[in-house]
Structures are given as C-alpha cells and as structure tokens.
Symmetry: none
Amino acid sequence: MQKRAIETRENILKTAIGIFSEHGYHGAKVDQIAEAAAVNKQRIYAYFHSKAGLFEQCLTAVFEGVKLFDDKAMTAARLEPARLTEIILREYMALHKKHPYFWRMLAWTNLEDDSSLKKLPGLKEKDYTALKELFGQAAELGLLPRSVSFETYIFTLMAVSYFYNSNRKTLSKTLSPELFTGPGMEKLIAECSLMIAPQ
Amino acid sequence: MQKRAIETRENILKTAIGIFSEHGYHGAKVDQIAEAAAVNKQRIYAYFHSKAGLFEQCLTAVFEGVKLFDDKAMTAARLEPARLTEIILREYMALHKKHPYFWRMLAWTNLEDDSSLKKLPGLKEKDYTALKELFGQAAELGLLPRSVSFETYIFTLMAVSYFYNSNRKTLSKTLSPELFTGPGMEKLIAECSLMIAPQ
Amino acid sequence: MQKRAIETRENILKTAIGIFSEHGYHGAKVDQIAEAAAVNKQRIYAYFHSKAGLFEQCLTAVFEGVKLFDDKAMTAARLEPARLTEIILREYMALHKKHPYFWRMLAWTNLEDDSSLKKLPGLKEKDYTALKELFGQAAELGLLPRSVSFETYIFTLMAVSYFYNSNRKTLSKTLSPELFTGPGMEKLIAECSLMIAPQ
Amino acid sequence: MQKRAIETRENILKTAIGIFSEHGYHGAKVDQIAEAAAVNKQRIYAYFHSKAGLFEQCLTAVFEGVKLFDDKAMTAARLEPARLTEIILREYMALHKKHPYFWRMLAWTNLEDDSSLKKLPGLKEKDYTALKELFGQAAELGLLPRSVSFETYIFTLMAVSYFYNSNRKTLSKTLSPELFTGPGMEKLIAECSLMIAPQ
DNA sequence: AATGAATGAGCATTCATTCAT
DNA sequence: TATGAATGAATGCTCATTCAT
C-alpha cells in the first residue's frame, strides 16, 4: 500500500471511530463518514470492504489504542500501597476522559450484534498480572481485605468508573447531579477507597 | 379509547420494548415492530405519532415497570442489617434478571440521542429514603463504614450490578467467564459485601 | 334523510369546498376535511361515496351557488348603456370577491382530471341572453363597436376579470403590484371601458 | 458534473416538467417521474434535493425557456403599427401553443403553495420596454386609444390569451365550442384587435 | 345515524453498495 | 489510487377506504 493510501485509510479509521462512537453502528451513515473524512465513499469499501468491516476495525483500533496503567501510575502504586484503590480508580477515570471513544464503543459493542466482537483480539491480561501482584502485597500488609479475590476487587473498580461515565444522563436524574462535577468525583474516589480498605 | 384499541396499543408497546431494547432506536425498524406485534403499521402512528414517540413511551413504560425493593426485601434488610449490602446487591441483580429490558433501554438511552430522556418523569427517589435510613442504622452499628456517604455506597452497588449485566460480552474476554455463572455471581456478591464491611 | 343527516351533509360540503378550493383535489386530504367539518370520516363516505364523489359535488355546488348579474346590476345596465362594460366588469370582479372559491375551483377543474367535469350541469346560458340584448342596444347606439360579436366582447371581459384574480401571484412579479390595490383595479376597469368604447 | 450526469439531470428535468405540468405538485409522484425518465429515483434527490426542489427547478426552467416576441414579430410590429394588437395576440397564442407547459405551470403555481414562487427570478421586464415604445407610437398615430395606459392594454391581451388557453374545459360548456377551433381563434383575434382600436 | 378502529397500498426519502472512468 | 454516477432495497410515514359496534 502506498503512503497516500495508508494516510487515507488512517484518516477514514479515525473519523469513523468518532462517528461510530457517537451514533453507534446503525446510527452512523457511510455517507456521513466519507464526508467527514473528506474522502470518496468508494475508498471506504476499498479499504474496509463494508460498513461492518469498518466498524470492526474501529473497534479493534480503539481497544488497541487504550493503554492501561502507564509506568508512572505503577510506580506510584508501588510506592504507596495504601493508596492503591485510589490510584487505580483515578487511573480508570482518567482513561475514560482520555479515550472518550472507549467506553462508548464498549457500550455499543455490548448492546449491538456481537458479530464484530468475535474478531476482537483477547484483551491484554498481562496488565492485570502486575496489578494483581500489588493487590496481593497490599492485602498482605492489611491495607486491603484479605478475604476478597483480586478479581472481585478490580471488577468493582472497573464497575464504578465505567458506570460513572456511561450512565451520566440517567443517573443525573436519579442521584444528585453534583456527583458529576470535579469535586463530586473526588469525593466518590476518596470514599470508595475508604469503603474498601479494612477499618 | 375502546377496549380493542387499548389492547392493540398495549400490544404494540410491549413488542416495541422488546425490539428497541434489543436493537436500539436506529437498529429497530417500524416495519419490524408492526410485524412482530401483528398489527397494521399505521396503528403505531395512530397511537404513538412517530417512531420517536413510540420509543419515548417504551422508555417510560420500562422505567415505570421497574419496582425496586419490594416489601419482602425491605423486611429482610431490617431484620438483618449485617446483610444489607448482600440483600441490596442481590435485589439489583434480580431486578436485572426480572426486567431484562431495563438496563438495555438504560444503555441505549445513555448512548443515543437524549431527546427522549427529557420527557422521562423524575425517578422515584422515595425508594432511596428508606434504604438510606437502613444504611444509617447499619453504619451506627459498625456494620458499614461510617465515614462513607450513602450516595457513594449505593452508587457502588448500582455500578457493580449494572456493570455485571451490561458488559458481559466484553468482560468475558478480559476477566474469567466463570464470573457470569451462578456460582460466579454468588461469589461476587459475597465478596463485595465482605469488601465493603469494616473488618 | 333525516334533518340531522342533511345538516351533516351540508356541513361536510361547505367545509370541503373551502379545502378543495385551497388545496386542489390531490392536495386536500379526507382526514383534513373530516376534522375541519368536525364529523366522522365515515360520514363522508356515507354521503358522498368517495373523495372523487365529494369533489364532484363540491364543484356542482360552487357552480350553482354563483349567480351572475342580479336585478340591480341589470337595471343599472339598462339605465346607462354607456356604462355597460364598466358595470359588467365590476360585476365580475365583485363576483370573484364574493365567491372566492369560484375561480379556484374553476382553475383546479381546468387543470386536473376532467372526469368530474363531465357530470357538471350545463352552465346557464340564459343569463347571457339578457346581456346580449343590452350589448346589441349599446352597439346600435354607437356606444360599443358594431363590428364585434357579443361573444368576443363578453369573452374579453371574463378574461380580464378571471386573469386579474387567478394570476395575482405571478403577475405581481411581471407587472406592477399596484395593479392589485383598490385604486389599481378601478383604473383597470375605467381604462378597459374606455379602450373598448368607440372613440 | 460529468457529461453523463448532466444528461441524466436534463432528462429528469424535462420529464418532470411534463408531469408536474400535467398533474401539479401534489398530483405528480416522484416514482412516476423517475419511471417516466427511466432513471433511478435516487438521482432525483441527488440532483434536486427534494420533490419541492425539483418542482422549483422545473418552474424556473419553464419560465426561462419562454422567449416572448422574437425579432421577427418585433419587426412586423414596427412595420405595421396598425396591426400591433393582432400581432401581440397572435404571438401570445402561439406562445401557449409552443410552450404548452407554460400556462399550466403558471396556473399550478398560482393555485398551489407559493414557496417555490419566491425563488423565481424577476421576469424579464425588458421585453415590455420595446413593446411599450411601439404602443406609444401607435397611440400617437391614432391607431390605439391614447387615454389608455400601456399596462392596461398589455394586461388585456395577456388576459385574453391566457384565459383562452387555460379555461377551455369549462368555457366549452358555457360559450360555444367553436371558439376553440382554428377559425374561432382567428375570429377572436380579429375582433379583439378591432374592438380595441379607435373607430 | 354515527363513531372509533383497522387496513393495504402508496409516498417521499435514505442507505449501503457497485459501476464506470 | 481515486472519484462521480448509479442502483435497489429499504425506511419512516400517510392516505383513501372499510370494518365493527
């Protein structure tokens, strides 16, 4: 593939991610994507074969683009095991902010037809091994409940951050809207850390 | 409205909830709904004015159909404050099972255009007042962390149950699939309760 | 037919004339007519059999409702033969104002399918016999050109008044819009009378 | 736009003029136009955006296609000022015959919604300036009544020719049908010329 | 006589996809 | 590689008409 072609492809992919993420598979239109990417519609079919193919590639790209827990976060967690929960939560929250497409693509994927899901590569369990180790050490030190498995622990933190980001609209109607301000989030993180730590 | 019309309307609504819940607003087709409900397509427009109107009514119906924490659960919670977390979690999980359309409609609504959301009635905060009281009592007794607000507490439980139900597809790829078996869920509930309780 | 039925029928007819006149056969909707007449749609079918039938009846009613040249006008014409053209023109103009539905129904009929036209009763030539006589007398007196037939004369006057009323929209774009003000019309009538009279 | 596209567009326009002219805006169906033009329905939307857009373009095309008073007619009028009325009338009648769509589109436009009318370009007044001059000269020579304005004069001639062409159907029922034969028209033209000229 | 409920064909418009250059 | 032109099957919605009470 020539350089120009690669660029075109990249361009389409990037644009499509934004649009699929916003409107979902059925809500997004091929014409719309082509126009937004300022390419000829036919290019989409040349590079991605079909709308479904494009969606699949977008999904993969988004998943691959997300890097959990960079070195800085891991170092911080290692230095202050007592703040592990807080660090993880904050990291997850930041991730949603940094990759706004991520949770939306996740949500669409969970809702819509799972045919595109099948081709998704297994998602890096390696990241978790490092975290799991840290969790074990913190539990050892009495900073986290010993009787709770790592899986439950990390599941809860993922749940909190995901739920916080994905259900804003409906939650602002049931719980207080302040929850979704800066201080509201800080309070949530702080109290979650406290709630989980043995007392 | 005559009896026959009421039945037709009800029928359409019920069918539409199922289809919207499965495919979302854009994924669902009016023709499909009409055929599934075995009614003339025009009836949909007669009773709901438009596809959007129908979706809105479906949303309202689903929200209104969901009853949180029946008397039985509340009595159990009152009798055994130590098991509050477990009871609530189990209740939420059961709710998702009993109202399979609920979280999906929630999810679609959070993803798609929020115009239909605006007309949703404020969602029963009253339910929470009773729970809040129970939470206060449990905290008083040292069964739950005192320094944590009720809102953070209930938010976490909602997050866990919602996340568990909404993200199965993608989670089975990152975490262990066993999580989504009966025993897996039991373990999750048990450990969550433990994790939150002061130790 | 009972009294109530007659009233309902009359009501529908009157309303339908207004709507057909405004939107034409295809532009008018049966629902719209029923709603405007505040009757059940089914009544229209009971009394007029079909939309086409209703249109036909409307056409007939409008044609029959129009009475050309009442006694007052005829008397005036007889007294002042010199003003014959002016009197006729003014009468025609007044007719268009008094029966706003008339020319529009005429226009629709001339444009649209002529199936409804066939059933129209022959339109009162009798009226013209009286006029023709007056025309002959005026010509005799040298007040109107002798070499011109009555048919051409009346045709021209009908044309002027019809054209004036039917083509306002497009004419205001080609000729001066003042033509369609009160004084503009007066001037037109005056000058037409003058133009036709021998000088 | 490529040659092929231009042809398709032209083809659609031409066909649509015929159909709109015959059935009016509401009576004409997009399917029908597409089929008659033997093009894919979607092309209509690609080139004209909507049915309303197509109608508008048809209207404009028809108006622009009509050329009043070619050089030949003007020369004839200049050479024989005494026959001015006859020449103009004959020209108008010929115009209706040559552009059968013209008066029908005019009529539809005057009857139906005027939104498309707004975008019509101002209609060539220039043509009238030349005529106006000729009219002035003829009046000077005593061939036409001096006390009558050009506007009234030309209005009358337009009215006669328009009325003659637009109201055939209903007029053949009130006046004699012979009016609409060749000799009938000749007689009308001759007598009109006579009627207007000072005697 | 009158009405609300229901229907099927039709209508303007859109969409994913393919063709031709 | 890239693009404008074209297509056929939807898609949301409407309409004239009939049914059942």
